[in-house]
């Protein structure tokens, strides 16, 4: 591991130097495997946070009852090594040639692979019209907050803060529902491509909501992190 970036009190990004890394696509993940001294192994999947062409980075949220994430968020230091397998996945991936308009919907740490797509879009000079709908508990829980505040041509970012809002907050303040999707999502007639990632309940709500709006189910790609909000 070559460097660490704190994103929120519970989340950090780890930049990894993997020998012979074959490169990755935007939206893929890696499996991280930890082996205890007694041989016990635990393995979890973490989305790649960096764009293709950038050094491999993963963003990890600490789950208090987790087996792997507390080590990755609280313990591991620059220079430490652990086992990774990947890159993994060929379904939940985006390339500029896939077109758009692009709707990215993330719940909590589900924003991580979407961030890789946004960086890929920017670095490749793509002008695909893109909206990010990002549901977070509070402003302090927003991952990549400064990066997402930077404006980029053709990119809209809509934050919804579900538990706590700062004074003067004028954005949405509830979980993503059909009304919010209707406000934010591209019209189905425009042939949008959607990527939805987050806790399983978030993904089910958003994906079925988009299909109800007329989205082609084959162009609504999903990735579920489970009930806990991370994998």
């Amino acid at each position: 591991m070559t460097s660490i970036e704190d994103e929120t009190p519970r989340v950090r990004t780890l930049v990894l130097d993997v020998g012979d890394w074959p490169g990755h696509r935007a939206g893929q993940h890696v499996d991280v495997r930890l082996t205890a001294e007694d041989g016990y192994r635990a393995e979890r999947a973490y989305s790649i946070a960096s764009a293709p062409g950038e050094p491999l980075a993963i963003t990890v949220e600490r789950l208090d009852d987790g087996e792997v994430s507390p080590y990755l968020v609280d313990v591991v230091r620059e220079g430490d090594a652990f086992e990774v397998r990947g890159p993994i996945g060929g379904y939940f991936v985006w390339d500029p040639a896939d077109g758009g308009p692009l709707l990215l919907a993330g719940g909590g740490s589900g924003v991580v692979p979407l961030r890789a797509m946004l960086r890929h879009r920017q670095r490749s000079g793509s002008d695909v019209a893109t909206r990010l709908l990002y549901s977070s508990r509070s402003l302090d829980d927003v991952i990549y907050r400064e990066e997402l505040a930077e404006t980029d041509t053709g990119l809209d970012v809509v934050l919804t803060l579900t538990r706590a809002q700062p004074p003067g907050w004028t954005g949405p303040a509830r979980r993503v529902d059909a009304d919010l999707l209707r406000e934010v999502a591209w019209r189905a007639e425009d042939g949008p491509l959607a990527f939805v990632c987050g806790p399983t309940s978030f993904v089910e709500t958003v994906a079925s909501g988009l299909v109800e709006l007329g989205y082609d189910p084959a162009r609504v790609k999903t990735e579920r992190f489970g009930a806990t909000g991370a994998r």
């Binding site: 993940h29 993994i88 996945g89 060929g90 379904y91 399983t200 990735e223 489970g226 994998r231």
Partner: protein, 88 residues
């Protein structure tokens, strides 16, 4: 046990089949529904990994390691089509 999806099985399936399979198209042997492997309902918390059909919840595939031997049961799959299989 929490339900994930086939994306979470990508690494395991790559180990078993030697190729990326989440974008492969699986046809359920129970109800005939066709969906990407990534869209299946996956449980990883048990003694093995289980993928079920999102349409009928029928069992599609099971991967279990028993005393160092990996057992793969694909009995619930009618077919599995790998896109660009020659590209690996």
């Amino acid at each position: 046990m929490e339900a994930l999806d086939g994306n979470a099985m990508g690494g395991l399936l790559h180990d078993v089949f030697g190729t990326e399979l989440t974008a492969a198209s699986a046809v359920c042997g129970h109800c005939g529904a066709r969906a990407a492997v990534a869209e299946t309902v996956v449980y990883l918390g048990g003694p093995g990994a289980v993928a079920r059909c999102r349409t009928c919840l029928g069992l599609l595939l099971v991967v279990v390691d028993v005393r160092g031997v990996r057992c793969v049961d694909l009995g619930g799959l009618a077919s599995l089509d790998v896109p660009g299989a020659d590209a690996g």
